[in-house]
């Protein structure tokens, strides 16, 4: 009898200890995220004041604010141990994300404002627990010209396997290794709509550093990354003002864009060094670069032919890179289901003094099924293969809407045959994972 009681008490104590630890983790995460938020918001304060000032006259007339967004729960499952024994070898890694969006317009839609904060709470990686303002801008639309002021997100390009010419926003790498997530970029962006196309000019005051997973987290580099001690070529460091420009137009079946960028490159070189305690780390070095880019798509019947190319100087020797390929869709393959075949060739001529890339001489192929059903179900399976090493990154992605508010996403990544000498991928070659994401939109 006593024995049973003691066991129960013991269980309860263990339970209390476990709960206490969980609570501490949550508090710690929340604390860090608040610290991060405060840090970033402080730096962005001038933009907010400006937005507030501009919005004020509109607010007097009670501008309705539209709120939408999502909350998501994610779990990542890692079947294998990481490449470095110093990294956490946990199998399951949960996280939560929240992204509301507030929109308002006044002057009959001529003035528009949008604020889109983002928050991630990660169960394992304190670096991935972070907040950001993805967008927070005021747009004045005068018809033939428009000015966007604040934190913006700009996408340039046409290809699927790599977004080569897309450079305005910094990658929020800690979010996902697919590099699709970007940090909000401070900008003043004037766009002129002319008969010869749209010309968009950007002044980019303020540099955002790339985010990296923590010392013990998955998807880290081959060594821990000392993301707190970056080295800048520019003496102005994060306060350098960068410039960018884009011209784009559509000529019948052709969509053409040409871009220029001059400023601190968004890709850092990761330079081996020693930290304060004498342990080996990788230090991000940000060079000043000049880059010219070109993106072309030719759309004819079932074919999309795509090309992105760039020339860059500033990362060591000047170099060129390109991605070229096609997307061919078999519409109504069975019933309403479409099958797309994607193939791209990636080539990058950068030297050893430039930020490492895995896309030096690679082939990408994928199949995408679009179900065209009420649930908007899609599935993609693909691979990027390095032509010299034979190493491959395999990828599966599927999305399905469960109801008008809930949706489900499943993703799986695999790495095979990647040599330890591959500087870009060696650190993540044991991080095969499956991710399940449940999202509620509001």
């Amino acid at each position: 009898m006593r024995g049973v009681c003691q066991t129960r008490v013991g269980n309860r104590r263990r339970l209390r200890r476990t709960l206490g630890r969980a609570a501490r983790i949550v508090i710690k995460s929340a604390h860090q995220s608040v610290a991060v938020t405060r840090f970033r918001v402080t730096r962005l304060l001038p933009f907010f004041l400006m937005l507030a000032a501009l919005a004020a006259p509109g607010a007097a007339g009670a501008v309705p604010v539209t709120v939408s967004g999502y909350a998501a729960a994610e779990v990542r499952f890692f079947p294998g141990d990481p490449a470095d024994s110093a990294q956490k070898s946990g199998r399951l890694s949960p996280s939560l994300a929240l992204q509301p969006e507030f929109r308002a317009e006044w002057n009959g839609g001529r003035d528009r404002a949008l604020i889109r904060p983002f928050l991630r709470l990660d169960g394992d990686d304190a670096e991935r627990t972070h907040a950001d303002l993805r967008e927070a801008y005021w747009l004045r639309d005068q018809g033939s010209w428009e000015v966007l002021t604040g934190l913006g997100r700009v996408f340039w390009g046409v290809t699927e396997s790599r977004h080569l010419v897309d450079i305005v926003n910094q990658t929020d790498l800690v979010e996902h290794l697919d590099e699709e997530d970007k940090l909000g970029q401070p900008m003043v962006n004037l766009t002129l709509f002319q008969s010869f196309g749209a010309v968009s000019l950007f002044v980019l005051p303020g540099f955002r550093e790339r985010t990296f997973p923590g010392r013990r987290a998955r998807f880290r580099g081959a060594l821990p990354i000392a993301s707190d001690e970056p080295v800048f070529e520019s003496p102005a460091r994060r306060r350098r003002i960068d410039f960018a420009a884009r011209w784009s137009n559509a000529f019948g079946a052709w969509d053409v864009g040409a871009t220029l960028f001059h400023g601190t490159g968004r890709e850092p070189r990761l330079v081996p060094s020693l930290d304060g305690g004498g342990a080996p780390v990788l230090v991000p070095h940000y060079d000043i670069i000049s880059q010219a880019g070109l993106d072309i798509q030719y759309t004819r019947e079932n074919w999309l032919w795509k090309l992105e190319a760039l020339g860059r100087r500033g990362n060591g020797k000047r170099f060129a890179a390109m991605v070229a390929g096609f997307e061919y869709t078999l519409f109504g393959l069975f019933g309403p289901v479409d099958l797309s075949i994607l193939a791209e060739y990636l080539r990058d001529g950068r030297g050893a003094a430039a930020p490492a890339t895995s896309a030096d001489d690679d082939l990408f192929g994928a199949l995408r099924l679009t179900f065209n059903n009420a649930s908007s179900t899609t599935a993609l399976i693909g691979a990027t293969v390095d032509r010299s090493s034979g190493g491959a990154v395999l990828r599966f992605e599927a999305q399905h809407r469960l109801s008008d508010t809930w949706s489900l996403g499943v993703e799986a990544w695999g790495f095979t045959g990647i040599p330890a000498s591959d500087t870009a991928l060696a650190g993540i070659r044991r991080d095969d994972f499956v991710q399940v994401r449940l999202q509620r939109s509001f």
């Binding site: 939408s68 967004g69 999502y70 929109r103 317009e105 839609g109 528009r112 747009l139 639309d141 018809g143 033939s144 428009e146 966007l148 997100r153 700009v154 996408f155 390009g157 046409v158 699709e180 766009t191 709509f193 749209a198 968009s200 784009s248 559509a250 019948g252 969509d255 798509q297 759309t299 019947e301 079932n302 074919w303 999309l304 869709t329 519409f331 109504g332 309403p336 479409d338 065209n372 059903n373 009420a374 649930s375 908007s376 809407r401 109801s403 008008d404 508010t405 949706s407 999202q439 939109s441 509001f442």
Partner: protein, 267 residues
């Protein structure tokens, strides 16, 4: 301009055709063409309009899913340019902000771009897939965007009463590539030349869908717009209802509002 030219040619040739020993087929073709172009002429000059649409999809088991969208349309000018349209989804939440821009052509393939808000990407897409489902509904793209009169050949079949009024019944055959239909049968009311019903026949020439249009109201003293469109798929038992609201005409839209580089801030 082109539609006026065609009308002009018809006006000139009409009497000649009447004097010739008219084969019934030619006669019914002429009458069909005349009805279709008259319907088009009566709505010409609308300039631009905007509306909100709620779309309800029902499957065989009557379970529903909903979409909300706003639509803007700019009337085509002279030459080959057809209407331009912007369709922005606000519901369901996971596709909120997704916007489809179409530059339709009177003949030949349309130009289409889609804006994907999650990655802020504007992507040119193939418009070949005219028979594909629009947003998973029973409406195909061609049911919504390819309404230029030159895209069909016509034949008047008969007159009959529909919804308590006399109507022309006209068969039309798509002449563009990639249609999912061998033919469509269209009911125009005689009073105002408004489309009241369309039956769609699939590639095997079997009845696939019926669209019933109701709740017409007149705007700017001339332009009739429907409130409700119900598409029933007879082969799957699924249906889609479109409810159109908040029609606004002369909203001041211009070409530049339909520029692909404006998609990232579409509203």
């Amino acid at each position: 301009m082109r539609r006026f030219l065609v009308l002009g040619v018809l006006a000139l040739l009409g009497p000649l055709l009447l004097y010739s020993p008219a084969a019934p087929a030619t006669e019914s073709a002429d009458k069909g063409v005349t009805i279709a172009y008259e319907a088009d002429r009566r709505d010409a000059g609308f300039g631009d309009f905007a509306a909100t649409v709620s779309m309800t999809l029902r499957n065989k088991a009557q379970s529903e899913s909903r979409r909300e969208m706003s639509i803007k349309v700019l009337e085509g000018g002279s030459g080959d340019d057809g209407d331009k349209s912007l369709i922005r989804f606000s519901k369901p939440g996971d596709i909120e902000g997704t916007t489809l821009l179409t530059h339709s052509r009177k003949i030949g393939n349309d130009d289409q771009w889609i804006f994907l808000p999650a990655v802020k990407r504007v992507k040119r897409i193939s418009s070949t897939n005219r028979s594909g489902a629009f947003a998973g509904s029973e409406f195909a793209y061609e049911d919504l965007v390819n309404q230029e009169p030159d895209k069909y050949t016509y034949a008047w079949i008969r007159d009959e009463d529909l919804n308590d009024g006399p109507a022309f019944v006209v068969e039309r055959v798509p002449v563009y590539d990639g249609s999912g239909y061998t033919r469509q049968v269209v009911w125009y009311d005689k009073a105002e030349y408004r489309i009241q019903r369309i039956e769609y026949y699939d590639r095997k020439n079997e009845l696939l869908k019926t669209l019933n249009i109701s709740g017409y109201e007149k705007y700017l003293g001339q332009h009739w717009r429907a409130r409700e469109m119900v598409m029933v798929n007879h082969q799957t038992g699924k249906s889609t209802t479109l409810v159109w609201q908040d029609y606004k005409f002369a909203t001041g839209l211009s070409e530049v509002d339909f520029n692909k580089n404006k998609l990232r801030n579409a509203r």
